[in-house]
Amino acid sequence: MGEIPVFFLHGLVYAGLLFLVSSGLTLVFGMMNVLNLAHAAFYMLGAYFSYSVLNITGHFYLCLIICPLFLFILGMLVERFLLRRVHVYGHVQELLITFGVAYIITESVKWIWGNYPLGVNLSGFLTGSVNLFGLFYPVYRLFMFFCAVFISLIMAMVLYKTKIGIIVRASVDDTEMVNALGVNVPVVFTAVFGFGAALSGFAGVIAGPLLTTYPGMAAEILVDAFVVIVIGGMGSLGGAIVASLMIGELQSFGALLFPKLSLALMYMLMAAVLIIRPSGLFGEEQ
Amino acid sequence: MQEPNDILQVRNVYKDFSGLKVLTGVDFKVKENEKHAVIGPNGAGKTTLFNIISGKYKPSSGSIIFKGEDISGRSPHVLTRMKVSRSFQITNVFQELNVLENVRAGVRCDHGLRYHFLKTPGSIAEVNKKTEEILTLVGLAEVKQTLARELSYGQQRALEIAVTLSTEPELILLDEPTAGMTREETGEAIKMIDKVTASKTLIIIEHDMDVVFSLADTVSVLHNGSILISGSPEQIRNDQRVKDAYLGEEGD
């Protein structure tokens, strides 16, 4: 009886996580026209950093602040010193360099933390369960979901209420135009890229205690996030929300109803969207 | 309404780009072997009209009838195979290839040599012959081994026309072929265009009135997204509305 609401909540939680990852991906794509293949590697780094920070300090809440900050800096460095250098050679080279970064991060993780799963152990309030209308649900999952919603709200506020947000949204629409207005677009690019990395890293931090922290976790979420932005439409934040919810629930209920087919379902959905609308649900038609 | 020798009819074509109305009911006819000029102030929608006739865009409504068949919304490659061909206002050729290869690309496609896994592009004598013919016709035979990007501006424009002709079209659409040329080059270009489009139907977008009046049998004036008037060059020259349309633009 209680199964359906539980799986629905599971789906929501995963959708929140997916949105944190895919929103940065789609924002960077919309602005810079670069699909950042290292995006999920930033997510993984978030999880691993958080593992170490937790081991050293013992405070999980600290991880939530330190790790995204670290990835913000790392992301900006990658944009400034690698991505920008190959910009003149075109999209293929840009994709390749982010791919190279992802590869190196994965190999570094294997080197530093080992090629095996790590458990992140929480303590205190977050480990318990809470009574939701007669349904016992893990506090941590709820915490994840509220984190995702909270961050998304902050992001929406920044994008729609601040000057920097207006610039970012304007350069998603038309980079040259914003350039012509005298805004220093390269700096905005670097910052947005770093911000995307931080978002992804934050998602990694909160995913760590729930999902396993292991070197394959990047590839795992990368494919899901890609499917999200293909379905939602590349460059569309609204599309990312809708598609995250679709994929989150699909995976959750897929695991309940058709455990063997849950992965195939996701691809079938993607294939169906591609046939009907090749540019995604909210993407601009070519 | 349909006369047997109308090769092209544009019927009540509308086009808007997410709310921006560019064409608001364009109507005109082109007879077989006619030299038809489309003129009009900047932003009147001339290139959009070409993009619709040649299949780059679908009309929002209305239809294009080519040889009695409704072709509106068909893909460019289908239209090319039906013998409609267009040039571009900004030279749009294969810059990293030489002149010969540029022209041969169209000729071989016309001869069905598109996706062949065994034959090379130069393996059909007829293709080579036709390619040479076109190169001679437009006066590029001597530079056929030169890369397109190394050509002079005038030669690039000639190559643009050569590539347009390479598919052996019956209806040729030329989008400002003399744009950016000197007076002298323009004169040469007109002679060449006159020569290469003999016994073919031509629609030409042009700004230079000398070109229009020396080349065209019929002139249509496009203004604010629809045809103001169609008629002989003489009629157009003396029409008050045309004068107003152009003066209005200059007054801006």
């Binding site: 499917v227 932005i229 | 090319t80 990293e96 598109r114 996706y115 896994f117 590539v163």
Partner: protein, 331 residues
């Protein structure tokens, strides 16, 4: 000049042929095995470069064809008793080709970033199928196979020894590679090049560019499938590695190291990669990390790859002779 290039081509061809035939007499078995592996990966890399170098299409999913070939050949050999060597190869190639058609029909309208992303997603799907469909693919355990003998009417040729399999690989893949080179000069090959140059104009010249992309995609899948088939036959084993994104990464590394600008680039890349891997894995477990550094270094400082370096060296030596037939990624 044309005469001369034909002559030099013939000279190179003869040299490679003689070297290929005589080599087994000169080197040790271990070296011969590495050489066989190089030939197989060279074909894989060449097929990949037809997409990346010639068509400008970046794929992260080329292993789906390599893996499909490798799995199909293992499955048909294990399930159809007394299937001949060529029977198995042809059957597996047909399956790979059909796979290419199906996947390609989803991708034909896409290029650039969406193409890259979708190939990655499809590769992930193929990988998931291979791991989950345990009864057919053996899941994580993989599949072991025996190489069937070759039956040529009056005689049986054993394929089990390293030199025997080397010769078979050298002949068959050599011929296919020769054809791939010829392909770049055919009408279809040139259509692909022209499309990368200016796809819009190609449409206005009467080419159906979506169909062209599909044909190319299926053809490169076919070649990659053949490489995968030989990979499985060579190791007499197919595992999920063959169909993983890691395998797609390997072929990308090879092509980037060798250079996308010429036909031989990927062959050089396959050679260097396999020897480098052989060498590095002896001294450190961190060799993939070093490969990653090499990859980034190549992208940043040698975007035309080793073959580009060699070409510019030759050009300098010959005093800037015309080398206009280039296919480097120009955007």
């Amino acid at each position: 000049m044309k005469q001369r290039s034909h002559a030099s081509l013939l000279a190179w061809g003869t040299l490679i042929l003689v070297a290929g035939v005589l080599l087994p007499l000169a080197v040790r078995q271990y070296q011969l095995a590495i050489l066989t592996e190089i030939i197989i990966f060279a074909l894989f890399a060449v097929s990949y470069n037809l997409l990346l170098g010639y068509a400008g299409l970046l794929s992260f999913g080329h292993a789906m064809f390599f893996g499909t070939g490798a799995y199909t050949v293992a499955i048909v050999i294990n399930h159809i008793p007394s299937l001949s060597f060529f029977g198995a190869v042809i059957l597996s190639l047909s399956v790979t080709t059909i796979t290419g058609l199906v996947v390609g029909s989803f991708l034909l309208r896409h290029k650039g970033t969406p193409f890259a992303l979708l190939t990655l997603a499809f590769n992930a799907l193929f990988y998931a199928i291979a791991t989950k469909w345990h009864s057919i693919t053996g899941g994580d355990d993989g599949l072991s196979i025996f190489r069937p003998d070759i039956n040529i009417g009056f005689a049986q040729l054993s394929t089990s020894s390293i030199p025997a399999f080397y010769y078979i690989t050298f002949i068959i893949i050599g011929l296919v590679m020769l054809f791939s080179w010829y392909f770049t000069r055919t009408a279809m090959g040139q259509t692909v090049l022209l499309m990368r140059e200016n796809e819009e104009r190609m449409k206005f010249l009467g080419y159906n560019t979506n169909v062209s992309r599909l044909i190319l995609f299926v053809f490169t899948g076919f070649l990659a499938g053949l490489a995968g088939i030989f990979y499985a036959l060579f190791f007499q084993f197919t595992s999920i590695t063959a169909i993983s994104i890691d395998m797609s990464t390997i072929v990308l590394l090879m092509v980037i190291i060798g250079g996308t600008g010429s036909f031989v680039g990927p062959i050089i890349g396959a050679c260097v990669y396999i020897y480098l891997q052989d060498f590095l894995s002896d001294i450190t477990d961190r060799w993939p990390f070093i490969m990653g550094l090499i990859f980034i270094f190549m992208i940043l400082y040698v975007p035309k790859g080793l073959s580009g370096l060699i070409y510019s060296l030759i050009e300098r030596l010959r005093g800037r002779r015309h080398l206009s037939r280039k296919v480097e990624i120009a955007e």
